[in-house]
């Protein structure tokens, strides 16, 4: 056991059977906590005819009703204002407010106590340590710190590790690049969209090769791009740095991370979270690797507004392979594959927007940006893909390979429109590249 390899060498190498015992005991603890302190949770469990005492084995956990984001929206804006009946601590113990981004509807408020913020940064410490962050690192965070949780906990975790943190908050993209250069920053955290955007601005507007800067590792969050091989490769090639994936959410916490072995997937922090994968059609809990389903997750130690069997809508699958890093925390294959909301049927075929991203970014003659628009003509679904040609690349040289790869990876035919490089919208944080116009003319924008 090497103390330098793992943030917590006992928990991260604990045999799975013991981890399950730990998870069960912690699950019972947080369930009791919520049941005795929150009217919302008590009513939810009683409506299913359950009390915490009815949960006697690990298998009993699936009897506990799931919590949907819509349920949280329903109870908020009431007393104790603005959080409502899910709050498990006195209001005066809440020390931080954040809210979800509202990508899928009305934002959800998230109260946290001092202890919860310590927990947030503790979870991120597992992430950053596994990705090679150490006290010698100077970490630049090019993100507009605000009411969204993104990267706040990464900032605090980097401080906890002993890194020097440079908050790149209100600076514009060019100023951020200059600051990285000026300070020789060695690490960075950002969304994949913004990592590519920064590289584009550095190269094409400032004449700076980002690969010549001092960044040697980048942690991505907020979007699945660092788990999409072609997008990861574009980022690593541009910056000459290792790019690592991480997934977390406002209501959940920082629940998974790619380690420095880059195993084409992410470890679930099974000491802090209980992840269950539910079959999208039958609702059955999937135990075996290789079957995709949506994630139901419990944050085992979050107290102010507990996250117990939360229906995250993230689509994941267990990996059959163990990681060479030695962690016993299981891997999810390819990270978060998509969201159950985003995976939609087009012409009767299940389409995951991530599959289109993988194709577009695997073709060197295409730019980073693209857009997908699904609509209907009569009863027939249509799907349009807008892409950018890199300078001096012709449509003829690209068209056949693009169509073939799209057909191969998604089983669908596309109307493809070609644009000059730089003419599609650019995004600073999370991108909105997928538009489904079929439902009552309401544009449903989903993150890719």
């Amino acid at each position: 056991m090497s103390g330098q390899e793992y943030w917590n060498p006992v928990l991260e190498t604990m045999p799975l059977e013991k981890l399950k015992v730990l998870q069960f005991k912690k699950f019972k603890r947080i369930l009791n906590w919520a049941y005795t302190r929150s009217k919302f949770h008590k009513a939810l469990y009683e409506s299913a005819g359950l009390t915490p005492d009815d949960i006697r084995t690990f298998d009993d956990i699936k009897k506990i009703p799931k919590v949907e984001k819509s349920m949280m929206r329903g109870i908020q804006n009431k007393d104790p204002f603005p959080y409502g009946d899910a709050l498990c601590v006195p209001l005066e113990e809440v020390s931080a407010f954040r809210q979800t981004s509202g990508t899928t509807g009305q934002p959800v408020y998230q109260p946290d106590t001092w202890q919860d913020w310590e927990w947030w940064s503790e979870c991120w410490s597992f992430v950053l340590w596994a990705q090679g962050y150490r006290p010698k690192d100077r970490v630049f965070i090019p993100f507009g710190y605000n009411i969204f949780v993104a990267f706040w906990a990464g900032h605090y975790a980097a401080e906890k590790l002993g890194c020097e943190v440079v908050p790149g908050g209100v600076l514009d993209t060019q100023s951020r690049i200059l600051k990285i250069k000026e300070l020789n920053a060695t690490a960075m955290m950002a969304t994949p969209t913004y990592v590519l955007r920064m590289a584009d601005v550095a190269k094409n507007k400032m004449g700076i090769d980002p690969g010549e800067l001092s960044i040697n590792k980048i942690t991505c969050a907020g979007e699945p791009g660092a788990g999409i091989p072609s997008t990861k490769k574009r980022m690593e090639d541009a910056w000459g740095a290792k790019v690592y994936d991480h997934s977390g959410a406002t209501e959940i916490g920082a629940w998974s991370y790619e380690c420095n072995k880059q195993p084409c997937g992410m470890h679930v922090n099974e000491a802090m979270f209980l992840v269950e994968i539910e079959d999208l059609d039958t609702g059955e809990i999937i135990e075996e690797p290789g079957r995709k389903g949506k994630m139901i997750i419990t944050a085992l130690d979050r107290t102010a507004q507990p996250c117990i069997r939360f229906d995250s809508k993230d689509v994941i699958e267990w990996d059959s392979q163990a990681c060479s890093c030695g962690r016993s925390f299981r891997l999810i294959k390819g990270g978060v594959i998509g969201r159950a909301d985003d995976i939609t049927k087009v012409k009767g075929v299940l389409l995951s927007p991530g599959a289109i991203e993988e194709v577009v970014r695997s073709i060197a003659g295409l730019g980073d940006e693209f857009e997908v628009i699904v609509d209907k003509q009569g009863d027939i679904d249509r799907i349009k893909l807008k892409v950018e040609l890199m300078p001096e690349v012709t449509k003829l040289s690209i068209e056949n390979i693009l169509k073939d790869q799209l057909r191969l990876k998604t089983n669908l035919g596309y109307k493809i429109e070609y644009y000059d490089y730089g003419s599609l919208p650019r995004y600073e944080v999370k991108a909105k590249r997928f538009k489904d116009l079929r439902k009552k003319n309401i544009e449903k924008e989903c993150r890719l």
Binding site: L11, L22, T113, W114, W117, E118
Partner: protein, 63 residues
Amino acid sequence: MKNFSSLNQVNDKILKIKQLLVELETEAEQFPALSRNSKRALASVKMLELNISDIVAFDLNDS
């Protein structure tokens, strides 16, 4: 891990720190600088408990 005490010994130390901080917090209600800093320190001690004490309390300790 070189020079690492057993988890039980580490846990004993964590519980002692916790006990002292709880005492400081409750004894110093009229002294905000003492009570609030003690309470904040307890939030950090909780992370030591999650990392170590739970393993001992749940009898998952090999060392």
